[in-house]
Symmetry: D2
Subunit: 189 residues, 4 copies
């Protein structure tokens, strides 16, 4: 049995998107990918900069309102429903609430197994990559580096500071088929 | 009672995306939007140009394979699940299979009501807008203009040839609150 | 003799970019296109939101600083140099300074002839298209609608309110070969 | 005296764009950036896939025609004219013709000094980054890795295989102020 859902959590500019594209390349079956970026794209424009929506502060902070949380919860249920309907799914998320964010996904998942992957990157290196990308508010990488992992339990943790996206993807792909077996219990600590 | 799902169907370059953004602006509640473009973005890169995936021919034709159809069905079930979980959803689709495409959505919807909107545009005008956009394979607008509407039943049909996106959105928004009432039966032709 | 440079001036969301892509399609020779958007893309990220650079206010206003003006002047000289070196060029600009902006281009052009095209659009319609595009600060279209044309002299003026981009492009293309002849003097009033 | 032009040459996915954005961040003065990507964006859509234009083969090969070369030469003259008019310029290019490409830039530059920077990356690593980016034809990185550097003389060569973009940018920035002095003669090989 293989896991139908892989959930990657890491700070902005930690390298998740590149890993996801490599995962879709190395995994033999087709996997769909969704994440906080595609969720924000699905919102009305006014919610990307307003009360009740998501706010990107000038210093890199991000805050979200109630309407955002309610829509996000419904969205997560739908993503899980896709997996229940037979699609394999990679989620690329930023757990701004740390353990509470993971708990929201666990609630949506119910008894559906998932491979939880923590994506780390040295904050100084991530801040440099944020400059190199040129499309992110500077400061997000540093602000989020620790908080997104607080209290979160993983099956697997990777670090992109000195490892390429494709290599990280191969490490994750090697674990996909073993989910549900004894390996998971041992590493979930 | 208001409908939780609006489904727009129309050929490439008929103006659906602009209408969706205007709908998200004029509707007082926040609506999420998904569609064939965001679905294709979620696919592995290799499925955008390979057997079993989606193929954009040089002359504007589009064909899809079995893997694509299976993932698309699971995706549609997930979109409907978001609506069942409380999110309002606007779907922006191209019914390449005409009535069969609508039937796939009906199956995913089950007893959940939807507002079906047909988006038309004079094929010559749509072909001109395809050139003006600059990011689409030329010929798609003309090829799809009729086929996507074959055998499809609508609650409402709009024509963007001489009507701006915002005005179209207002016409659709005015119908949102009446779905489920007698107006729908009368117009479902 | 044909003019080597076409300069389109109009407010944000008046439809210039679509016209430019159609012009590149209908003109038999290859024309390069540059404009205020590609110039801003060439700037350091910090100048898009800082003193000395360009500032997009929340209400749609745009202001620029000295460094911006100096780089913009050097950029315009370079664009004209491309035309002197044999490339045909379409410029897509927003004359935030009205007649003063045109004067800056005239200075860069020297004795090189240009076809000056004013692109108009009803401000209410442009504001609706701004919403439909979804990627612009709301309010820019309305703020700029009149000011960009103040004191500017044109060879040709077009209105996109009820005319498609491709049709506008055909009208402009028909004028390209007559530049420098008597037709220009008559219409430049 | 500082050099007014920095020219980076390297294969697709070797990391030039990220270095350019970091350069624009670390250099105290504002520098404009242009390159083969922005040049291709300025072309008519039909030249991106036609005779006389640029062709991206399915296997990652790239070939260009006469019209393309003529426009590219005029474009390069214009970029140099911007520098002569006082703008500092970073060029991000792929020398598909190796030494011949450099010769074309030397001709456009005339007596204007430039800092020539070779950007290298292990082909296997670059191929992995090509997958991670997801927006490039697979195979370009490997095909171009060696050919773009054949016979090209540099003031400075950097390798992105194990070095972050920001660090590469700092190494280049440290050389900017010394151009024209004795350091250049020594390293220009």
């Amino acid at each position: 049995m293989t896991t139908p859902v892989i959930i990657l959590n890491g700070a902005s500019s930690s390298g998740k998107s590149g890993i996801v594209r490599c995962l879709q390349s190395v995994l033999p079956d087709p996997w769909l990918t969704f994440g906080c970026d595609s969720f924000v794209d699905a919102l009305p424009a006014r919610m990307r900069a307003a009360d009740g929506g998501i706010v990107f502060d000038a210093d890199g902070g991000v805050s979200v309102g109630e309407d955002f949380r309610a829509l996000e919860a419904a969205w997560a249920e739908g993503i899980v429903a896709m997996a229940r309907a037979g699609a394999r799914i990679v989620v690329d998320d930023v757990f701004l609430g740390g353990a509470a964010s993971q708990q929201r996904w666990r609630k949506a998942l119910g008894d559906l197994p998932a491979l939880w992957v923590g994506v780390h990157c040295d904050p100084t290196v991530a801040a440099g990559r944020e400059i190199a990308r040129g499309d992110r508010t500077l400061g997000m990488a540093a602000q989020q580096a620790r908080m997104v992992h607080e209290g979160v339990a993983y099956d697997l943790e990777i670090d992109t500071t000195h490892t390429e996206s494709l290599e990280c993807a191969r490490v994750i792909a090697a674990r996909v088929s073993r989910i549900g077996g004894p390996g998971r219990v041992a590493s979930a600590g």
